[in-house]
C-alpha cells in the first residue's frame, strides 16, 4: 500500500531563491512525521510546495499514489491535503462559525449534503469546546491559543487525509502547549497522516513516529523517533554544523573570549541541568 504522502527528491523555492534542494519523505496513514531543522532550513518551504503554494523545480509529490504535479493549491485541498500554516492564519474578520464553514469548502464532493454540514460543525464544537461558546465571535477577537485551535479545527473540517502542521506551538503560552500536544496526538488515532514542522525539539520528539532533519535545504537525517541515535543526530545537525560554521567564520578561530560563554557553555546554562 502506498504511503499517504510521498515526497521524492523535492527541489523548490521562491522565484530565484532555491530554498529546498533535496528532500525525501514518506508519511504513512495514522502516523506523525516530524520535520526538524534550524531557522531558514527549508521546512516551511517544503510544506508550501506540498500544499501547492510554491512551484517545484524538480522532484515528485504524490498523494495516495497520485502525482500532484501541476495541481493548484485549492485542488490539492479538495483532494485531502490540509495545511495549517504558521501564524494562526484564520480569516480574522469572519466569525468562528464562518471560519469552520469555510473549512468545509474543501470537503469531498460526495459529502456535501446540508445535514452533514451541521454534523461536522457539532463535531468541531465537541472537540474544541472553547470554540462552541464563541460561535459568533470574529476570529480577530480570539486569543492566540484559541485562534490556533480554530485553525486546526478549520483544516479538519475539510476531512483531510494528510495534515500539514507548521509550528502549531509557536507563540503559545506554556500552559496551552500541553493541550496542543494532546490534540495533535489524537489526530494519529483518527488515522490522519500528519507532517509536523517544529523548532521546539522536545515538543516534536514527544509526538513523533518518524523524524526527518533538514539543514540548508537538504535532508541530513531520517529515522524512526525511538531510535537511540535520533537525539544525537538532531543535535549534531542543529549544532554540529552550526558550530563548524562559527569556528570557520570567527577571526582567530576560537569563539572563547574572556568571560564570554561559548555556545556549548551557554546551552548548558539554558538547559538548567
Amino acid at each position: 500500500m502506498s504511503a499517504a504522502l510521498e515526497v521524492l527528491d523535492l527541489a523548490t523555492g521562491y522565484g530565484d531563491l532555491r530554498a529546498v534542494l533535496d528532500v525525501n519523505l514518506r508519511v504513512e496513514t495514522g502516523t506523525i512525521t516530524v520535520l526538524l531543522g534550524r531557522n531558514g532550513a527549508g521546512k516551511t518551504t517544503t510544506l508550501r510546495a506540498i500544499a501547492g503554494l510554491n512551484p517545484t523545480s524538480s522532484g515528485r509529490i504524490s498523494l495516495h499514489g497520485t502525482d500532484l504535479a501541476g495541481m493548484p493549491a485549492h485542488q490539492r485541498a479538495r483532494r485531502g491535503i490540509g495545511y495549517v500554516q504558521e501564524g494562526k492564519r484564520v480569516f480574522k474578520s469572519r466569525t468562528v462559525e464562518e471560519n469552520l464553514l469555510l473549512g468545509m469548502y474543501a470537503r469531498p464532493a460526495s459529502n456535501r449534503a446540508r445535514a452533514d454540514a451541521s454534523d461536522l460543525l457539532d463535531a468541531a464544537y465537541t472537540q474544541f469546546p472553547i470554540l462552541a461558546s464563541r460561535r459568533r465571535t470574529p476570529a480577530a477577537q480570539l486569543s492566540g491559543g484559541q485562534q490556533q485551535m480554530l485553525a486546526i479545527a478549520q483544516a479538519l473540517a475539510a476531512e483531510p487525509t494528510v495534515l500539514l502542521l507548521d509550528e502549531p506551538s509557536a507563540g503559545l503560552a506554556p500552559s496551552v502547549v500541553g493541550e496542543m500536544l494532546a490534540t495533535i496526538a489524537q489526530l494519529r488515532e483518527r488515522g490522519l497522516a500528519v507532517l509536523l514542522v517544529e523548532q521546539a525539539m522536545e515538543f516534536a520528539l514527544a509526538l513523533a513516529d518518524r523524524v526527518v532533519v533538514i539543514d540548508l535545504g537538504r535532508q541530513v537525517y531520517a529515522g524512526a523517533a525511538d531510535e537511540a541515535d535520533v537525539r544525537q543526530a538532531v543535535r549534531d545537525a542543529y549544532l554540529g554544523l552550526a558550530q563548524a560554521a562559527a569556528v570557520a567564520a570567527s577571526p582567530g578561530g576560537s569563539p572563547v573570549e574572556s568571560g564570554e560563554p561559548t555556545r556549548a557553555g551557554w546551552l548548558r546554562k539554558w538547559r538548567r541541568s
Binding site: 485549492h74 500554516q85 474578520s93 469572519r94 464562518e98 464553514l101 469555510l102 469548502y105 474543501a106 475539510a158
Partner: protein
C-alpha cells in the same frame, strides 16, 4: 425638490460604478478602475446600435453585455493577473492604461462629442412631492437599489459570497481551504464588467454617449466607494445618493462650475474625519 430627484438619479449612476468596484474587490481583491469605462462602452454600444444601425433595444442590451464582459475578461488576463505578486501601484497603472485605450478607441471611432441617444422613448415629465422627474429617473434609482441589495444578499448569504469575503481577508489561506481564487477573480471581473455594460443603455439617456465622462465617473465612483466603505454595498448606496444630492443642491446654490469643487471638499473633509468611510469598514487601499 426637483433637485432631490436629480440628485438621486445622478447618485444612482455613481452607485452603479461603486458597486462594480465592490464586486471586483470582493471577488479578486482589486478595485477595477475601468468599471466606469465599461459603462461608457455600453453607452456607445447603445449609440451605435440604436442611432446608427437601428437595432432592437433587446439586442443592444445583449451586445453591450457581451462586449463589456469580454472587455473585463481581457483586462483581467492582460492587466491584472500578471501583476498578482507585485504591489498595488503597478496594477493601478495598467488599469489606467487599459482604460485610456478604451477612451482612445471610442474617440477614434465616434469622435469626442457627447451624443444623445433615445432608448426608452419615455420623454414624459411627471410631478411628485413638489418636484419634477421623468420615468427614467425612477428606473435608475430603482435599479441602483435592487442592485445594491441584491449584491448584499449575494455577498452575505451565499456560500460563494462567504468565499469572496474570506479571499479579501487572506487570499492564500482561502486557496488552502479549497477556494479557487483565480476563478473567483476572473468571474468577478467579467460579471462586474458585463453589469456595467448592460447599465450603459440604461443610463445613456441621462449621461449621453461621451468618452470624456468616463474618467469623471471613475473618480466620483471612487469617491462614493471610499465614503461608503470598500466592500459595503449598502454603504455605497447611501454614499452614492448623498453625493448625488450634494451635487444637485450645490449646483443650484453655488453654481454648476463649482459643483465638483464642493464634492471634492466634502470628500476630503469626510475622509479626514472618517478614514474608513461612513460604514467604518475596511480602509480603502489597493491590494
Amino acid at each position: 425638490m426637483t433637485e432631490v430627484w436629480a440628485g438621486l438619479t445622478t447618485g444612482a449612476v455613481y452607485a452603479f460604478i461603486a458597486l462594480g468596484y465592490n464586486v471586483t474587490y470582493l471577488a479578486g481583491g482589486v478595485i477595477n478602475f475601468a468599471q466606469a469605462y465599461f459603462l461608457v462602452l455600453g453607452t456607445f454600444v447603445a449609440y451605435w446600435g440604436l442611432e446608427q444601425h437601428d437595432l432592437s433595444v433587446a439586442l443592444v442590451f445583449v451586445i453591450a453585455l457581451v462586449v463589456a464582459g469580454l472587455g473585463g475578461f481581457v483586462e483581467e488576463r492582460l492587466a491584472i493577473r500578471p501583476l498578482r505578486r507585485s504591489g498595488g501601484s503597478a496594477e493601478l497603472v495598467t488599469m489606467i492604461g487599459f482604460s485610456t485605450i478604451i477612451t482612445g478607441a471610442l474617440v477614434l471611432a465616434f469622435g469626442s462629442n457627447a451624443m444623445p441617444v433615445s432608448v426608452f422613448h419615455l420623454d414624459t415629465t411627471h410631478e411628485a412631492f413638489g418636484g419634477r422627474f421623468q420615468p427614467l429617473d425612477i428606473v435608475l434609482i430603482a435599479a441602483a437599489l435592487v442592485l445594491g441589495f441584491g449584491l448584499h444578499l449575494l455577498t452575505h448569504r451565499t456560500r460563494i459570497g462567504l468565499a469572496a469575503l474570506a479571499q479579501t481577508d487572506d487570499r492564500e489561506a482561502a486557496q488552502l481551504r479549497g477556494i479557487n481564487v483565480s476563478a473567483l477573480s476572473i468571474g468577478g471581473f467579467i460579471i462586474a464588467a458585463a453589469l456595467a455594460g448592460v447599465l450603459g443603455p440604461i443610463v445613456v439617456e441621462q449621461t449621453f454617449a461621451s468618452a470624456s465622462i468616463a474618467v469623471v465617473l471613475a473618480v466620483k465612483g471612487f469617491v462614493v466607494l471610499v465614503l461608503g466603505g470598500v466592500g459595503s454595498h449598502r454603504g455605497v448606496l447611501v454614499a452614492g445618493f448623498t453625493v448625488g444630492l450634494v451635487e444637485a443642491f450645490g449646483s443650484r446654490y453655488v453654481g454648476p462650475s463649482y459643483r465638483d469643487d464642493l464634492v471634492f471638499l466634502l470628500f476630503v473633509a469626510v475622509l479626514m474625519a472618517f478614514p474608513n468611510g461612513i460604514s467604518g469598514k475596511r480602509r480603502a487601499r489597493a491590494v
